[in-house]
């Protein structure tokens, strides 16, 4: 048994698996999928304490899980997965979803290889940089009014496609068909401030760790599966990582406040205000799930609009098209059906910085992916690599896996240790063009501030959460 953070006791429990035994208020154990090197190490990182806190939530079943990329978040750790039994008073917590509701990743495949775009890669990156609104404040591909915003909140990417901002296949290859039909943005669920923030940002990257990358499929680990998903070795791709922008953050802010007041009525106490929660099947719980779904719809429409602008940039510079491979969220709560102790239960599964990974044959997969499994998109650190994974039968943690590299250094620390200008020069010397952001912004996102993405994926695969399909490397980066 080893000590972590001078408090949390963890024991090895198999390949890439550690266990935090039940103690104190924990209702279930903690399970951390990691190698020794990937366990949270940073001084003051409280991720494992947060795994313990989540294990005490009312109605939690199975375990409080942490993915290999786990790191310190608010309330829940980032890289945390927890399910609660809805019929047994299980709670829903906005802290288990995160501020950036339905933050996720979209992968588009071009009908060309690297050599075909090489002569025009600079012009392509310029066009992508120019057409991709990013950074602080307002900026949008699609400037909408309140009526269209309401339709986006209810109908997600489907509304964007119906209005001419995409094609039918974009919906078929988006998780949930691009729309969570349970969304309800009625007054009281999605407030005025959230709407105002959403009006000016539909089709924008934001800032921080969000990015748009032109990538190349460097290695294919499973050719048949990759081909079914729409990828071959050497193919050029675009990966888009962003979420629901200010609208999602405002909904989370408002709902945490509402739940903080309401949970006393349900006799719930939590050790961290960001863990505010109420029974999923309560008026406040249903309101949150309906508002969260509306934000998720906004996020899918947001990535759909950035797809449209990426297609325009490709068309005008290199003359190639882009087909959607898949779009998947890594910040969401879903009502799902699972077997628990031999019984079928309706669970509220929180994935915060964790990705659903459905195995081949799962009934929720679209027909053309039924044999391949769900494409799981894992964005790596700027300048390193990203992965396409898929789910495995009997995948643990309610069919969940990692979501990215996972921070190990604060932004301040990274900015102090890394010279952004030198990093930009190093990336460009390796043939990776960078557009947007400042030297400081670049330094904050330096690869050294994150875990090693290859080690994260090795641990996730070794723990039986997923398997590799392809590895992608960047050719150019547009930073938020």
């Amino acid at each position: 048994m080893t000590q972590h953070a001078e408090r949390v006791q963890i024991t090895e429990a198999g390949a890439y698996r550690y266990r935090i035994p039940r103690h104190g208020a924990m209702r279930v154990p903690g399970v951390v999928f990691a190698s020794p090197e990937l366990l949270p190490q940073a001084a003051g990182d409280q991720a494992l304490d947060q795994v313990v806190n989540v294990a005490a939530l009312p109605g939690v079943v199975g375990a409080s899980y942490a993915m290999p990329d786990v790191h310190w978040g608010y309330g829940f750790p980032i890289g945390g997965v927890a399910a609660t039994d809805v019929a047994a008073g299980g709670v829903v917590s906005p802290g288990g979803v995160g501020f950036d509701i339905s933050c996720g990743v979209r992968l588009l495949a071009a009908d060309c290889d690297r050599a075909e775009i090489a002569p025009r890669i600079g012009a392509l990156l310029d066009a992508l940089g120019r057409r991709t609104p990013r950074g602080a404040g307002r900026g949008a591909v699609w400037h909408i009014g309140r009526r269209d915003l309401d339709r986006v909140l209810r109908e997600g990417a489907r509304h964007a496609v119906e209005r001419g901002h995409g094609v039918q296949r974009d919906l078929e290859r988006c998780e949930d068909g691009g729309v969570l039909t349970e969304a309800d943005p009625a007054a009281g669920r999605v407030g005025d401030r959230a709407r105002e923030r959403g009006l000016g940002q539909l089709g924008s990257l934001g800032s921080g760790n969000h990015f748009l990358e032109v990538q190349e499929v460097e290695t294919v680990h499973d050719e048949a599966t990759a081909r079914a998903m729409g990828l071959v070795a050497g193919q050029v791709c675009v990966m888009i990582h962003c979420g629901s922008r200010g609208l999602g953050h405002q909904i989370c802010t408002d709902q945490v406040r509402t739940m903080g007041r309401a949970m006393r009525r349900y006799g719930i106490e939590v050790p961290d205000r960001q863990l505010a929660c109420v029974p999923a099947d309560s008026p406040e719980g249903r309101d949150y799930l309906a508002a969260m779904a509306a934000a998720a719809n906004y996020a899918r429409a947001n990535r759909q609009l950035l797809t449209e602008s990426s297609r325009a940039a490709f068309a005008e510079t290199v003359g190639h098209g882009l087909d959607l491979v898949y779009d998947i969220s890594h910040n969401l709560a879903k009502i799902e059906t699972h077997r628990v102790d031999g019984e079928t239960r309706r669970l509220c599964v929180h994935r915060k910085g964790a990705t659903r990974a459905l195995p081949p044959g799962h009934p929720e997969l679209p027909p053309d992916l039924a044999e391949a499994g769900q494409p799981v998109l894992i964005p790596g650190t700027m300048g390193t690599a990203s992965y396409l994974l898929t789910g495995v039968p009997d995948g643990d943690a309610w069919h969940s896996t990692c979501h990215g590299a996972g921070r190990v250094e604060s932004r301040h620390q990274a900015a102090r240790e890394v010279n952004g200008g030198r990093l930009r020069a190093e990336l460009e010397a390796r043939g990776i063009a960078v557009r947007g952001t400042t030297a400081r912004g670049l330094a904050e996102e330096a690869p050294g501030a994150y875990k090693d993405i290859d080690a994260v994926v090795t641990a996730a695969e070794g723990a039986g959460l997923c398997r590799r399909v392809a590895r992608l490397v960047p050719l150019g980066v547009v930073k938020g």
């Binding site: 003051g44 501020f99 602080a136 921080g208 205000r273 960001q274 952001t437």
Partner: protein
């Protein structure tokens, strides 16, 4: 880990504190209002250089109310984030005056596009280890923002 410090002519200060998730700012001052003013400066300086704005700042006035002091800190930061997202405005300075149940706020706003960006912009205010209170040496506060 100071990113700010003693403000010229002021009696308070602010600094950034490491947090792997995001941006944490601590501030202090002899009065609640000075402490909050420093917190706003600390947050702004984390993502934009307020000295780089060339154009004359615009005045914006509002009132902010809350049930207690920590909530007042959250409400003030929420307002800063909201104005950045919806109007593209950044407070390069702020004057705060106490009123019953809250604050009267006078911002001096610059366009975000006119300021030199120096880091990721805040998008939400968290309740994680939130604090605003009076101690023997004056007022101190801490707030963590999602970026």
């Amino acid at each position: 880990m100071a990113t700010g410090g003693e403000h010229p002519g002021g009696r308070g200060g602010h600094r950034g504190v490491p947090h792997t998730a995001d941006l944490r700012v601590s501030a202090w001052g002899p009065t609640r209002e000075e402490c909050l003013t420093q917190a706003v400066r600390g947050v702004v300086e984390s993502f934009a250089d307020p000295s780089s704005g060339a154009r004359a700042p615009r005045r914006r006035h509002t009132e902010i109310h809350a049930d207690d002091d920590p909530e007042l800190l959250v409400a003030l930061m929420d307002d800063v984030v909201y104005r950045l997202d919806t109007a593209g405005e950044v407070p390069v300075d702020v004057d705060l005056d106490p009123i019953p149940g809250g604050l009267r706020v006078a911002y001096r706003m610059a366009d975000a596009d006119d300021l030199e960006p120096v880091g990721a912009a805040p998008k939400a205010v968290t309740l994680h280890d939130l604090a605003l209170g009076r101690g023997p040496a004056g007022w101190t506060c801490s707030v963590t923002l999602d970026v």
